[in-house]
């Protein structure tokens, strides 16, 4: 292609499709399979047209998550670069055994001789009224597993650049796509974005907001409103949860001394706790305040009246900041 950057805005879902297409094109070891991903193009219309272009390497499977994930592992250690789709992240419980017990340990067992380079794409997150079993964030199920990378893009550009990096990565990678972002439009580039690097998507001096995926947009909206009150939030989009970019987080905290972690996911046992633990371990001297805004510790409700209140949107973020003693004077 001639243009390395384009100002044309494309949808998040298209960015993912383009990344897949370009990697399938670039590397004949890449294969892509899952339920209804080929002929039908995916239930979120993410993968339309790929089967037509790569009929030998894009295919539909039975409804068999154990087999799909296990087969991805076996193919990966025999030279392929499989990308699989597990339709909803909520179904990843059925993939966990294979990912954790096989894929994540291969690199260690073989002493670096080889590894299991595979990518699991999965639609996650709430807000779509899909109810408690089609809206979860399965991150906490995997976050404590050594050897698995976890990618969580917030924009079309990151979705594309990170997915390409994930496919080229030699480790098993979980690639989470927030359903509420699929229709988000934005510019994209041809860059491969390295895994493990957070991005400062808004600079600020008063407070560091650490977040990911849809949370980035909620934080951005909240930050605008906080700015009207003179509070300048710096927003760290983690982009990759594993490996976690401690350097960027800590650099921001050294500036602001205040940490707010915004995670869509249950408060107990989420990655927000890990970010806070890192802060304590590495930034104790700079610590003025630190807290997290997550979802309550109960299943995700279906009713719009309940789901909206359940999720940490921009309103809740603003409120949560203004509730802190150190910002109370601005409230």
């Amino acid at each position: 292609m001639l243009m390395s950057t384009t100002t044309v805005e494309i949808e998040f879902r298209t960015a993912i499709r383009d990344a897949l297409a370009e990697e399938l094109e670039r590397d004949s070891r890449v294969i892509f399979f899952g339920e209804d991903v080929a002929k039908a193009g995916g239930v979120f219309a993410v993968t339309k047209g790929l089967y037509e272009r790569f009929p030998d390497r894009v295919f539909d499977t039975p409804i068999s998550e154990l087999a799909i994930t296990g087969a991805a592992f076996g193919a990966a250690v025999c030279g392929k670069r499989p990308v699989i789709e597990i339709m909803f992240g909520d179904f990843l419980g059925l993939s966990l055994d294979s990912l954790v017990n096989q894929a994540a340990k291969y690199w260690y067992f073989t002493q670096g001789q080889t590894s299991a380079p595979l990518v699991v794409r999965s639609a996650v997150g709430a807000g779509g009224r899909f109810g408690a079993i089609h809206s979860q964030m399965p991150i906490s199920w995997f976050f404590g597993v050594p050897g698995l990378k976890i990618v969580c893009p917030a924009t079309p550009a990151d979705a594309k650049g990170l997915l390409k990096a994930a496919i080229r990565d030699d480790n098993p990678v979980l690639f989470f796509e927030h359903k509420k972002l699929y229709s988000l439009k934005g510019p994209v580039h041809d860059e491969v974005i390295p895994l493990g690097q957070a991005a400062i998507v808004r600079p600020g001096r008063d407070l560091t907001m650490v977040t990911a995926m849809k949370g980035v947009h909620d934080c951005l909206a909240a930050a605008e409103r906080l700015a009207e009150r003179g509070i300048e939030a710096e927003i760290v989009d983690l982009r990759t949860l594993k490996p976690l970019d401690r350097v960027t987080i800590l650099a921001s905290l050294r500036k602001t001394n205040r940490l707010m972690v915004v995670e869509e996911g249950p408060r107990t046992g989420g990655w927000a706790g890990e970010v806070m633990a890192i802060f304590v371990e590495e930034g104790l001297d700079d610590l003025d305040d630190a807290w997290r805004l997550c979802t309550p510790d109960h299943p995700i409700p279906y009713s719009p009246a309940l789901e909206d209140a359940f999720l940490p949107g921009a309103d809740a973020i603003v409120r949560s900041v203004l509730d802190r003693p150190s910002f109370a004077h601005t409230a």
Binding site: E35, D36, K39, A40, G41, V43, F44, A45, D60, T61, P62, I63, S64, E65, L66, D90, F91, L94, G128, R129, F130, G131, A132, I133, H134, P296, D297, H298, P299, P301, Y302, S303, P304, A305, L306, A309, F310
Partner: protein, 323 residues
């Protein structure tokens, strides 16, 4: 298996009420689709239109202490079991008056009072739940029923549970609703061999029935239930049927073979049901229309009340059931 001539036992009143339930389900689904399009039902729904004879036929031979596990495509199963349409609709509307207070939504309906231990959004979840229910019911003379689709017969839950139930001789009837597709994929494309060969491999008694004919379903279900109820272990039923609308909201619908939908519409369970009412029970067209109208009226009222019902109030929820 013992042969039960279930159809002979159906008097006109009973059959009329079964026919009415089929009509109710169809109209309920049409209403849900309409309410979805108008933004009152949210997220996604998986409609049962076209498969009514299965849920109603099976439910017609269940006992009061039997238990049922259904799927995300569960409105029909729920209504056939007697879940009040109002409460089911209110759940879909996200109202406080919903059967689960608006917490669960279309895919996760539970109504223990009406024998429905759950609708399960995970493929295979209904099979596992019914197998466990069978464990609880063993020796009581009651039976657990699992509904699931053709696509689900490729899932680990299916195989593990059928073997488990057979080894432990659990009173479970597994009802596979073969509607030819799992989401957008024809079942033959992803299924090696015949579906019935699988339960046969586990030595479960297997029946196939016309899923659009309530009498056929009822007859086969009665035999399967009887087998399980008498302590002979699990039984399997494959019913052939067809869903008229998309798998769920986002269905591109490209997969149907030309003419397929029309051919099935000619064998519509409501059409077959109406014919039976006329031919077997001597009902007039007006008699049938009166039934249809009564279902319609019930749902019009439910719709109105549902749309007027209050939303639940957000508030703190206990994570755990207290002691």
């Amino acid at each position: 298996m013992v042969r039960v001539a279930a159809d002979l036992q159906l008097d006109r009143t009973t059959y009329e009420s079964l026919y009415r339930t089929m009509v109710l389900i169809r109209k309920f689904e049409e209403m849900v689709q309409d309410l979805f399009e108008r933004g009152h039902v949210h997220g996604t729904t998986h409609l049962y239109s076209g498969q009514e004879a299965v849920a109603v036929g099976v439910a017609s031979v269940l006992g009061p202490q039997d238990r049922v596990a259904a799927t995300y495509r569960g409105h029909g199963h729920a209504l056939a079991l007697g879940v009040p349409p109002q409460q089911l609709l209110d759940e879909m509307l996200g109202r406080k008056t919903g059967i689960c207070g608006g917490r669960a939504g279309s895919m996760n309906v539970i109504d223990l009072e009406h024998r429905l231990i759950g609708c399960f959004g995970i493929v295979g979840g209904s099979i596992a739940a019914a197998t466990g229910a069978g464990l609880a019911l063993k020796g009581t003379g009651n039976v657990a029923v699992a509904y699931f689709g053709d696509g689900t017969t490729n899932h680990g839950y299916f195989f593990e549970c059928l073997n488990f139930a057979k080894v432990l001789e659990l009173p479970v009837v597994y009802v596979c609703e073969n509607n030819l597709y799992g989401e957008f994929t024809p079942w033959e494309d992803v299924t090696a061999g015949r579906i019935e060969a699988r339960p046969e491999a586990f030595e479960l008694p297997v029946q196939r029935a016309d899923g659009n004919d309530l009498f056929a379903v009822r007859d086969a279900a009665a035999r399967a239930l009887d087998h399980a109820r008498s302590g002979n272990g699990p039984a399997f039923l494959e019913v052939m049927t067809y869903r008229y609308v998309g798998h769920s909201r986002s269905d591109p619908g490209k997969y149907r073979k030309p003419g397929e939908l029309d051919a099935w519409r000619k064998r519509d369970p409501l059409l077959i049901g109406r014919q039976a009412l006329r031919e077997r029970y001597d009902a007039s067209d007006e008699d049938v229309d009166r039934i249809v109208e009564s279902a319609r009226v019930e749902l019009v009222a439910a719709r109105e009340a549902g749309l007027a019902a209050p939303f639940p109030e957000p508030g703190p929820v206990d994570e755990f059931k207290p002691a």
